[in-house]
Structure formats: structure tokens, C-alpha cells
């Protein structure tokens, strides 16, 4: 091209040297990526493989990478004692109200912090920021006493659901607030001049504009609940209210020696998360990019 014509030989030499370096660099990068990918995938693949083997062949040495026979029947046998659909129903009975309540309150609160002006806003905001530093474990004991002794709600889902009405943790409120501040104020002022109420402005102007942030909040809440284990173990002791986390604990406890069935149960509990993630992944990454958490 015209460009290379204007370069003298010295520069050309430098360029090719740089190109070689770059090639080595990208080669290293690809290798690191591939190795990490294998390391991430390996434990997951291994339990999937093991879930399809007979218990005897699991202990064979050296182990085979692919199962010799694909025993899909393991899943059917597991389902005889592992009450998958009950756990599925219970888990989502718990997650759906939490995510809904968390998202809606996060939107309201984030809007209030971003747009409303009132006395004491700064103090309230600081108090809320402080809660990020408080690990959930710390308040576990007094909250347990509060729910079981004062409210007598032990054994129900309420101790798990009600806290999500606070926007599901301040991080989500903060995310919404940050995103709203990037929307030009003229937009909602114009709507107000046209006579729209605050509520209307929020739902017709703000909410559509912050959709990426809302997606992130929903997925964050989902993951948070999906991973929450200790609280479920503490509050739920009724067999009919068992969720995935508890069901799997009990199952692997009683079938600890039959690894293949326990593996099948594990694989089945991972599946819903995988499906939701595949659906939401694109908008999740996009949402995080758009919320522009750089500064």
C-alpha cells in the first residue's frame, strides 16, 4: 500500500519486529485463554461424565475420559428419590417474588436518589452505602432470633423474601441511580411540563431508558438468590418447602457413597441456571457495558 512505500527500511524492520512480538503475544494470549477454559470446564465435564457411569467404573484406574456406556438411566433412578420438580417449584416460588420486589424497589429508590431533592438525602445515602460493607453473615444471628422468636415466621419463606423489598441490597439501587444520572434531565422535565406526574415520568421515560440496568439488576438478584444457601438451610426445615440447595444437601448426604446418582442430581440442579444464563447472557454483558461502571 501507499503507506509502506513511504516507510524507510529501518522503520520497516522495526515494524516486522513488532509484528513478530505481537504474534507471540497473541499466541500466548490464546494459549492462556484455552488453558483457563479447559480448567474451568474440566470439573463440570467430569461430573457430567460421571453421572452417566456405573458406580463401579467410577473407581476404575486409569479413568476414562468418555464413559464406556452412556447410562442415561441413572437420571431416571435418581429422580425416583430426588424430588426434582418439587424443588424446582419451591425454588422458583422463592426466587420470583424476591426478584420482582427487589427490582421494583431498586427502581423507586434509585430514582429517588437520582432525581428527587429532599433534606437528609446525603445522610440516608451514606447510611445505605455503609451496608455494602456489612457481610450478610454478620446480622444472621439477630435476624434469626427476630424472625423466629418475635415474628414466629420460622419455617416459612417470609424471612427470605421480605428483605428483598429493600432493593435486594444497596448495590442494585446504586446501579439504577448511576444509570438514571446519565439520562439528560431535560427529558423528564419536558414530560413534567407536559403535565405528567412523577409516577408517569418514571414509567414512561425513565424505565424504558434504563432497561439495560434493569436487566443487570434482575440477573444479579437471580444469581444472588440462586447461590444463597445458608439462609435457606437455617429457615426452611419443612420437607414440602425444600429448595434445590436443601434437596441436594439431603440427597448427597444420604447417597454419599453412590457418587453417580449424586452427580446426576448435581447436574440437574445446575441445568436451570445454565438455561437462564444462556437466555440472559447477551443482555447481561451488554447491560454491564452500558452501565459504564468505569468511573
Amino acid at each position: 500500500m501507499g503507506e509502506s512505500k513511504t516507510l524507510n527500511t529501518n522503520q520497516a524492520g522495526k515494524l516486522s519486529n513488532k509484528k513478530v512480538n505481537e504474534k507471540i503475544g497473541s499466541g500466548v494470549a490464546t494459549a492462556v485463554l484455552a488453558i483457563t477454559a479447559v480448567l474451568v470446564l474440566l470439573p463440570l465435564y467430569w461430573i457430567f461424565r460421571s453421572s452417566l457411569m456405573s458406580n463401579g467404573t467410577l473407581y476404575a484406574y486409569p479413568p476414562s475420559i468418555l464413559p464406556k456406556e452412556w447410562l442415561w438411566g441413572n437420571y431416571a433412578t435418581t429422580l425416583e428419590t430426588f424430588d426434582y420438580w418439587l424443588y424446582f417449584k419451591n425454588t422458583f416460588t422463592l426466587i420470583v417474588p424476591c426478584v420482582t420486589a427487589g427490582t421494583i424497589t431498586a427502581i423507586f429508590c434509585g430514582y429517588a436518589f437520582a432525581r428527587l431533592r429532599f433534606r437528609g438525602k446525603k445522610i440516608i445515602f451514606t447510611l445505605c452505602v455503609g451496608t455494602i460493607l456489612l457481610p450478610g453473615m454478620v446480622t444472621l444471628i439477630p435476624l434469626y432470633l427476630f424472625w423466629t422468636r418475635i415474628c414466629h415466621l420460622g419455617g416459612t419463606y417470609w424471612p427470605l423474601i421480605l428483605p428483598y423489598f429493600t432493593g435486594g441490597g444497596f448495590f442494585n439501587i446504586y446501579l439504577v441511580r448511576q444509570f438514571i444520572t446519565t439520562i439528560p434531565k431535560e427529558l423528564d422535565e419536558a414530560a413534567e411540563i407536559d403535565g405528567a406526574s412523577r409516577m408517569r415520568t418514571l414509567w414512561t421515560i425513565i424505565v424504558p431508558a434504563i432497561r439495560p440496568a434493569i436487566t443487570v439488576v434482575i440477573l444479579m438478584l437471580f444469581i444472588q438468590l440462586w447461590n444463597d444457601l445458608l439462609q435457606q438451610l437455617i429457615y426452611i426445615n419443612d420437607m414440602t418447602k425444600t429448595t434445590f440447595a436443601i434437596g441436594l444437601t439431603n440427597f448427597t448426604g444420604s447417597f454419599g457413597t453412590k457418587w453417580n446418582y449424586a452427580m446426576a442430581a448435581t447436574c440437574m440442579t445446575i441445568a436451570p441456571g445454565l438455561v437462564i444464563y444462556i437466555i440472559g447472557q447477551k443482555s447481561f454483558v451488554e447491560g454491564i457495558v452500558l452501565t459504564g461502571m468505569k468511573n
Binding site: G2, T6, K18, N21, E22, A29, V32, L33, T36, A37, V40, L41, P43, L44, W46, I47, Y59, P62, T105, F108, C109, A112, L116, R117, L127, C128, L133, P135, M137, T139, I141, L143, L145, L162, F165, T166, K185, E189, I223, W226, N227, L229, L230, F244, A245, L248, T249, W259, M263, T269, I270, G273, L274, Y277, Q281, V285, G292, M293, K294, N295
Partner: protein, 344 residues
């Protein structure tokens, strides 16, 4: 806001007094409606239990003890926290998790940088590496119990790599390695999440800057150091602060994999045992308070540290802006030259 009020004020000057009253009334109503539920619950679920916990930490009590039977013991619980070897000593384990967190952040940052340039299958890798974050804790515990069992997955891989399986330690029992095994699981589980956050931040950096820098002859490392890192320093700082807090309060990996056996009990695992197995609620509350003080102290120190590190940040930012301007100018010059070259 004021603009709106002025405009509306001009429109209805006569009913101004009534208007502002109703307007303010409406405003107050909105504020209350928007904030009351979250705020009440914030107080109920965070500040009230926190206060209760501080109170409990001065009592000797069990969960079932009625309020009037609780025995006030003063500072005894706090003295116990520091005297018992299992309580305060458990904090030493946080150091393992801090090292892990450091590795995790570096790895996440490296991956994020690679993946924010165009890579074949980039989306696949992003998805894959984030996935462990979506597996619930019990399943993680189970996967890794299996993974580290003698003669199973990890031993097999090492045997393929040429290690003698006879000489390998018991990964979850041998006290020399078991904490590292748990830390590795923690890195495995969480680095993808950090990576996605970093990618988000890096993608919002102006792509023109990279192009300009590349035209200028900068290599990838220089681009990273001069453009990417300064642009995302806020989120990196935030992640460092959060990871230190996270290391101090590490809980799930040891809880689900070893349940704190063989010297893997972190502070919270021990606290959980003291509270729920031995029912020493007062002592457990004192432990929680002590940890909270440590976390606050650490956060404060870090804030001061970062303030010190970034105290030149403002001037640096300026030079960064200057650099941006310079790069733009140079890019334009290069373009002009290129065009000249084509013309010639």
C-alpha cells in the same frame, strides 16, 4: 428543575401560594412513597439487628434463652474472642484467601483485556468463564469434594502430567495444602464475575484511543498501562476493597467442601459453629462485632492508601487528556500523510 418552577410560576402567578403548597405536598408524598418501604426495611433488616447484635455480645445466652434469663457478662465474650485459639486464630486463614483474591483479580484483568480486543470465540469464552458463578454452593461443594478425592480427577490429571500418584498429598486433608485447594476453588468460582465487570468497564473506554495508540506504535502492554488501566481505576479499586472484605469473611467454600475440618475453618465457619452447634450466641455475636471493626479499619486504611496513591490522579488525568488530544492530532497527521502517500 428551577427552570420548570419559574416557567410554571409565570403561567399562574395568582394561585402561586396554593400551587407551591400543593406542589410541595405532592413532592413530600412522592418522596415518602418512593423511599418509605426500602428505608423502613433497611432499618429493620440492617441497623436494628446490628444494634441487637452488639447488645447480645455482652450476654451469655442461647437461642432458646428467654430474655429475662440472659446473663450479662460484660466484656467477657470479647476477652474470649481473643483468648480462644479457634476464634481469632481463624483470621490467619484470611491471608490465604487474600493471596487468592489477588491472583483472581490479576487473572480477571488479564482475561478481560484479552477478551475486549477481537478474539475468535470471544463470546464463548466470556460465557464459559462466567458460568461457575452460576452454580449453587452445595453443587460446588460436591463437585470439588469429588474433584479432590484421592485417585479421582485432580490426581489423574497430575498423573498424566507425570507426577507419581503415590507422592501426592491428600488435597483436602493435608494441612499443608488444603487451604490452597479451597482458595483455588474460590478463584475458579468468582474470577469470571470480576472479569465480566472489567470487560464492561474496558468496553466503555473510547476505542479510538487504542487505534490512535496503535498507529503511534504502542504495543499491547503500553496500551494497557497508559489507556486501559487509568480509565478503569475506579472499578479496580472497588474490586480490591471488596476482595479484602471478602477474604476476611470467606465462608462458603470451606463450609460446603470441608465444613471447616482439618484446619480449614475460616472465621465465619467457626462463628457459625459456635452459634449453631455450641449455641454460644453471645460469643458468636462478639466475634461478628470484632470482625466488623476489622473490616471497617481495613476499608478506612485502603481508602487512605488509594487517596495517597491517586493523589496525583487529577494531574495525571490532565496529562491523560492531553495525551488524548495529542494522539488525535497525530492520527489526523498520519491520515493526512497517508493521503499524501496515496496521491503521490
Amino acid at each position: 428543575m428551577t427552570g420548570t418552577m419559574e416557567q410554571e410560576g409565570k403561567r399562574s402567578r395568582s394561585g402561586f401560594g396554593r400551587w407551591i403548597r400543593s406542589r410541595q405536598g405532592q413532592q413530600l408524598l412522592i418522596i415518602v412513597a418512593f423511599m418509605i418501604i426500602p428505608l423502613t426495611l433497611l432499618i429493620v433488616f440492617t441497623y436494628f439487628p446490628f444494634g441487637e447484635m452488639v447488645k447480645f455480645s455482652f450476654y451469655k445466652m442461647k437461642y432458646a434463652t428467654p430474655i429475662d434469663k440472659r446473663k450479662f457478662v460484660g466484656w467477657q465474650n470479647y476477652i474470649d474472642v481473643f483468648r480462644r485459639d479457634d476464634c481469632f486464630g481463624a483470621l490467619k486463614l484470611s491471608l490465604y484467601y487474600m493471596v487468592g483474591a489477588l491472583i483472581q483479580l490479576v487473572l480477571a484483568l488479564y482475561m478481560a483485556t484479552i477478551l475486549s480486543f477481537k478474539v475468535k470465540g470471544g463470546n464463548f469464552f466470556k460465557g464459559l468463564m462466567f458460568f461457575p458463578f452460576l452454580i449453587n454452593g452445595i453443587a460446588i461443594g460436591f463437585i470439588f469434594k469429588f474433584f479432590y478425592t484421592r485417585g479421582f480427577v485432580f490426581d489423574t490429571i497430575l498423573a498424566w502430567c507425570g507426577f507419581n500418584p503415590e507422592n501426592l498429598p491428600y488435597w483436602l486433608k493435608d494441612q499443608a495444602v488444603n487451604n490452597w485447594s479451597l482458595v483455588a476453588t474460590s478463584v475458579w468460582r468468582y474470577f469470571g464475575q470480576n472479569m465480566v465487570l472489567f470487560i464492561g468497564a474496558i468496553m466503555s473506554v473510547d476505542a479510538e484511543l487504542y487505534e490512535a495508540a496503535e498507529l503511534d506504535g504502542a504495543n499491547k502492554w503500553q496500551i494497557f498501562k497508559a489507556i486501559i488501566l487509568p480509565s478503569i481505576k475506579t472499578i479496580v479499586t472497588l474490586n480490591i476493597i471488596l476482595s479484602i472484605t471478602g477474604s476476611l469473611s470467606a465462608f462458603e467454600q470451606p463450609y460446603v467442601i470441608t465444613n471447616g475440618a482439618n484446619g480449614t475453618g475460616t472465621y465465619f465457619v467457626i462463628m457459625n459453629q459456635i452459634a449453631h452447634t455450641s449455641q454460644k450466641v453471645g460469643l458468636a455475636c462478639a466475634m461478628a462485632v470484632v470482625l466488623l471493626v476489622i473490616i471497617f479499619a481495613c476499608t478506612l486504611l485502603q481508602k487512605l492508601f488509594f487517596k495517597y496513591v491517586f493523589r496525583d490522579a487529577e494531574s495525571e488525568d490532565e496529562s491523560y487528556k492531553a495525551k488524548k488530544a495529542r494522539l488525535k492530532a497525530e492520527k489526523a497527521a498520519a491520515k493526512a500523510q497517508k493521503q499524501k502517500g496515496v496521491q503521490a
